[in-house]
Amino acid sequence: MQTQPHHKLTKYLRTDVLPNAFCAGCGGGTILNIFCNVLEEMEIDPNEIIAVTGIGCSSWIPSPYLKVDTLHTTHGRAIAFATGVKVMKPKKRVIVIAGDGDLSGIGGNHLIHAARRNIGLTVFLVNNYIYGMTGGQVSPTTPYSVKSSTTPYGNVERPFEIAELVAAAGADYVSRWSTYHIFQLKKSMKEALNKNGFSFIEITSQCPTSYGRRVGMRNGIDQLLDFKEKSIGIKKAEHLSSAELEEKMIVGKLIDRNRPEFTDGLRRVNEAAAG
C-alpha cells in the first residue's frame, strides 16, 4: 500500500480525494499551491476559513481539495451564498474561488453588488478566458475575435475588464496577477486576506485544454510565456495610450482603501435597533 508522501502543505488538503482532477498544464494547481503557502506563512488556522465556490474547474481549487468547511453552490451564485455565511459568521474568513464564467458571467450581478456593499469576502476570480469544464464556450472574458465552441467564426463581443469593473463597483481591494506571477500573486493574496472589506484578485490562468489550443498555445507553458510577454505593470501602463495597451494585460494593485464594511454596518444597525 502506498502512503501519502509527507509535505508541509498536505495538512491543508483532503488527501483522500487526491490526485486532483485538473488537466495537465492547468493553472488550478498553481493557485491552490500558492494559497496553501499563504496559509502556512500567515499561520492561518484552516478552521477559520469557510470556502464558497460555484460550478466549473476553478471552483474545484478549494472544493473539495482544501480541507476547510466548503460550500459548493449552484452555478454563479457563490458570492450570494457567501454573503449569508459572512453575515452569520462575520469573524470567519469567507473565501470565494471560482471562474470567470461563474463569477462574471452567470453571477456577474452578485459580483458587482457584493463589491458595492463592500462585504468582507475574499474573492479570487480565476480567469481562463473560457467556460473550460463544459467544453470551451465563450465567456464574458473571451477576447474579441477568438474562436470558441460557441463562436466558431470568432467572438463578436468585447470582454469585461473585470478587475476595473470590481474596483469601480466599490471594492476595498482589487488586483490582477497571473499564474506566471507567483510571487506577486502570493503577496497580493496576503494583502487581500488582511482587508476588512471586499477584496478581489483577478488571477489570469492557463487552460490548454479548452482555450490555449484554440489560440495556438497547445501547452500550459505557452500561455504562461504569453502572460509574461503581454503583462505590463499598472504604473508603467499609466503612461501608455489605450491603443498601446490593446494587447496588454495590466497587472498590479488597482485599488487599496478602507471603506465601511457591510457586516460591521449591519451590526451597528442591529445594536441601534435593539436600543
Partner: protein
C-alpha cells in the same frame, strides 16, 4: 440582496453558518428561486420560503391575489424531490404556521414553503401573540461525534460551519460523508430515495387539515387559503337551505393529504373544489377518488364570493 436568486442563496449560506433563515417573495421571485430551492432539497438545508401568490403567469396582475403556484411549489425545481408546503387562511394562522414551518424544516431537514395568497397577504386582522415560553421550538439536530451529515439515518444530523469538522456541502450527488460521487448509480439512488422517503414517511406527522360537518354529508367541498373563507360562508348557507355539504380545509398542501381526501370523497356524491386557479389541486384530488370532482375555478385577482360558490354547488347537484 440584488435578486431572489441571491436571496435564497444567502438564506442557505446563513443556515450552514448556524442561523435559522427565511425569505419572502411573490410569483416572479418564486420562479427565480427554483434552482436554489432544489439545492436546499439536495443539501437538506432547513429553511423557510414565503410565496405570496399573485396572479400570473409572468407579471400577470401585479399585487392581485391568486393560488396559481400550487403545483409549482411541488414540482417547480428539477429532479425528484419531496416538498412541504403550508397554506394559511387567516393572519393568525399565518403567524402560527410560521412557527410550524421552521419546526418542520428543522425536523425533516427540508425547505418549507408558505403558500400564502395575495388576499391573506394584504388583509389586516387582529391576532393574538402567544406567550413566547409556550411556543415549542424544535432545535437543529447537530451531529455528536463524527456522524455522517448526509446519510446513515433517514434524517441525518447536521454539521455546521465553524465546528472544526471541515464539512463539505454540495448540490452534486454525494456520499453520506458529503463528498461528491456523481458516477455511482447506487449512491444517487440511495440519496434521492432517502430524501424522498423522509417526507413521504412523515405524512401523518406533517399533514394538517380541518373538517367541518363531516359527520353527516351528501356532498363535499374542499378548499384552502383565502378561498376557504367564502367556502365556509357558502357551506353554512347551503346547510341552512337543507343541502347536506361537508367541508375539508387543507392547511398542509404538500405532502398531499391523500388519506383523508380518499376517505371523505368515498362518502360524497360529488366533490366541489373552489380555487383561485384553473383547477390545480382539483386534479390532485381526482387522483384519489372515482367520484366526480367539480372545479369551481376563479381567476382575475379577486376572491370567490359566497354567492358564487353557493350557485356553483346548487347548479351542479
Amino acid at each position: 440582496m440584488e435578486d431572489e436568486i441571491a436571496s435564497l442563496g444567502a438564506v442557505i449560506g446563513a443556515v450552514w453558518a448556524g442561523g435559522k433563515s427565511m425569505t419572502a417573495t411573490s410569483g416572479p421571485g418564486f420562479s427565480l428561486m427554483q434552482e436554489n430551492l432544489g439545492y436546499a432539497c439536495m443539501t437538506e438545508t432547513p429553511c423557510v420560503i414565503v410565496n405570496v401568490q399573485r396572479s400570473g403567469p409572468s407579471t400577470g396582475q401585479a399585487t392581485k391575489a391568486a393560488q396559481g403556484d400550487v403545483l409549482q411549489a411541488r414540482w417547480g425545481t428539477h429532479g425528484d424531490h419531496e416538498m412541504i408546503a403550508l397554506s394559511p387562511h387567516s393572519v393568525q394562522e399565518t403567524f402560527d404556521i410560521m412557527i410550524d414551518a421552521f419546526n418542520l424544516s428543522e425536523k425533516y431537514r427540508n425547505p418549507v414553503i408558505i403558500l400564502l395568497d395575495g388576499e391573506i397577504g394584504h388583509i389586516r386582522e387582529k391576532i393574538v401573540f402567544p406567550d413566547p415560553d409556550s411556543i415549542e421550538v424544535i432545535p437543529r439536530n447537530i451531529a455528536a461525534g463524527n456522524a455522517d451529515p448526509f446519510g446513515g439515518e433517514r434524517i441525518p444530523p447536521m454539521i455546521e460551519f465553524g465546528m472544526n469538522q471541515q464539512v463539505h456541502v454540495t448540490g452534486s450527488t454525494h456520499k453520506p460523508d458529503g463528498m461528491r460521487d456523481v458516477s455511482t448509480m447506487e449512491v444517487h439512488d440511495t440519496l434521492i430515495r432517502r430524501i424522498y422517503d423522509k417526507i413521504d414517511s412523515g405524512r401523518e406527522d406533517i399533514i394538517k387539515y380541518e373538517e367541518h360537518f363531516t359527520d353527516d354529508f351528501d356532498y363535499l367541498i374542499i378548499s384552502y387559503g383565502a378561498t376557504a373563507r367564502p367556502t365556509m360562508g357558502a357551506v353554512l348557507s347551503l346547510r341552512e337551505q337543507g343541502i347536506k355539504i361537508g367541508f375539508l380545509r387543507y392547511i398542509t398542501i404538500w405532502p398531499f393529504a391523500n388519506r383523508i381526501t380518499k376517505s371523505l370523497c368515498a362518502r360524497a356524491k360529488k366533490v366541489f373544489v373552489p380555487e383561485m386557479n384553473l383547477g390545480q389541486l382539483s386534479r390532485e384530488i381526482q387522483r384519489f377518488t372515482d367520484k366526480e370532482v367539480v372545479s369551481i375555478s376563479k381567476i382575475g385577482g379577486v376572491c370567490h364570493t359566497i354567492a358564487e360558490i353557493e350557485e356553483a354547488v346548487v347548479s351542479n347537484i
